[in-house]
């Protein structure tokens, strides 16, 4: 990137891995990996707080994919300032709608997480444990 003199293995590794890929594709791959990780966590963890964390990871994966789908080639943020005039904006900006949708989704995700955490507090008060193995009534 900035010359071959310095030791920057991270940048080159990332470059090698994503060589020839589109940015949308990179974001989608990372997003799907996060989604699968979150699903794995939700399905295998026994600790309720860890399940909630897994849910948040899944959520971030979905957000990443949505933001990535809004990317246009060499696009910049859809905010007008000295460098982006209204007349030449159309070919240069990324799609503002996915960004707005993700903004909404993040807030809803926070709300859902807060609700889940309060359920976790209630469960802990009732059972004195956060492991789903100790909650016998939920077994079927």
């Amino acid at each position: 990137m900035t010359g071959d003199t310095g030791a920057m293995p991270q940048g080159t590794l990332l470059q090698n891995l994503t060589a020839g890929m589109h940015i949308t594709q990179v974001m989608a791959v990372i997003g799907f990996i996060l989604i699968l990780l979150g699903l794995w966590g939700i399905l295998t963890r026994k600790h309720i707080i860890r399940m909630i964390i897994s849910f948040s990871i899944l959520d971030s994966g979905i957000h990443l994919i949505m933001v990535g789908l809004g990317y246009t080639r060499n696009g910049t943020a859809p905010i007008f300032d000295g460098d982006l005039s209204i007349t030449d904006a159309l070919g240069r900006v990324v799609d503002p709608i996915p960004s707005a949708l993700v903004l909404t989704a993040i807030v809803i995700g926070i709300a859902v997480t807060a609700l889940m955490l309060s359920y976790a507090v209630r469960l802990y008060k009732a059972y004195r444990s956060l492991s789903i193995d100790d909650i016998k009534e939920m077994k079927w």
């Binding site: 589109h22 940015i23 949308t24 594709q25 989608a28 791959v29 799907f32 699968l36 699903l39 794995w40 399905l43 295998t44 789908l69 809004g70 990317y71 246009t72 080639r73 943020a77 859809p78 905010i79 007008f80 300032d81 209204i86 904006a89 159309l90 070919g91 900006v93 990324v94 799609d95 503002p96 709608i97 960004s99 707005a100 903004l103 909404t104 993040i106 807030v107 809803i108 926070i110 709300a111 859902v112 807060a114 609700l115 955490l117 309060s118 359920y119 507090v121 209630r122 008060k125 009732a126 059972y127 004195r128």
Partner: protein
Amino acid sequence: MIQRMLIILVLILMGFGIIPLVWGLQDAETVSPVSQYYVSQGADDLGAANLVTAVVVSYRGLDTLGEVAVLFTATAGAAMLLGLGADNSKRKQQHQQASEKPGNHMAESEAQPKKQERREGSELLKTGAAFLFPLLLVFGVYIFIHGHLTPGGGFQGGVVIASGLVLLLLSESDRPMRKTLLHSIESLSGAAYAAVGLMGLWLAAGFLDPRFLPAGQFGSLFSAGAIPVIYSLIGLKVGSELTGVIDSLRRRSS
């Protein structure tokens, strides 16, 4: 064990199902047709330099009102869930009646002696929180006032304000929260948001139309009609709501 293998198998299958979705994915050359209108006409329409804000507050303003309603519902749900437990245990203590679940009752009685004093925040945390809180407050207000000009907006600014308050709560765990103030800020800003929307219906083209205030100089602080007003109200509402959630979690978990 077999269950875990099954889960891993399902996830691997899902991964293989996803590959064709990702394979041919390419960067878009242009934005979608709806966005083309927003990008080319949005600045003339609304006078907001930040198009994402224009979409969130004005073009999809009704969605944002719904989003704020969802946030309010979740906050109310959390407060109800956590407050309900307090009421129940109080009633149980008053009447000394056997609870319907023996395990539950045992847990309650077991909880009483275990209640310990929470550790005080360290000197570092206290000093840092006292130093950072005013800065975070001002920064949050800055973010939501400039939501139509720079990245950020009401939700982000509100979260920054709430994080400052959380820092205060962490440093002094038994600091009493002025809940009346918090609730009145929350409900007044929510009501004012709806009122601004109705004024758009009355004075401009439709519900949540921000153009009933003068558009002003493009790119200046007082521009874009009512968008900064709406975003400031959202910022106040989100900040007080999230602080309320953290406060109720803190009170009940002790």
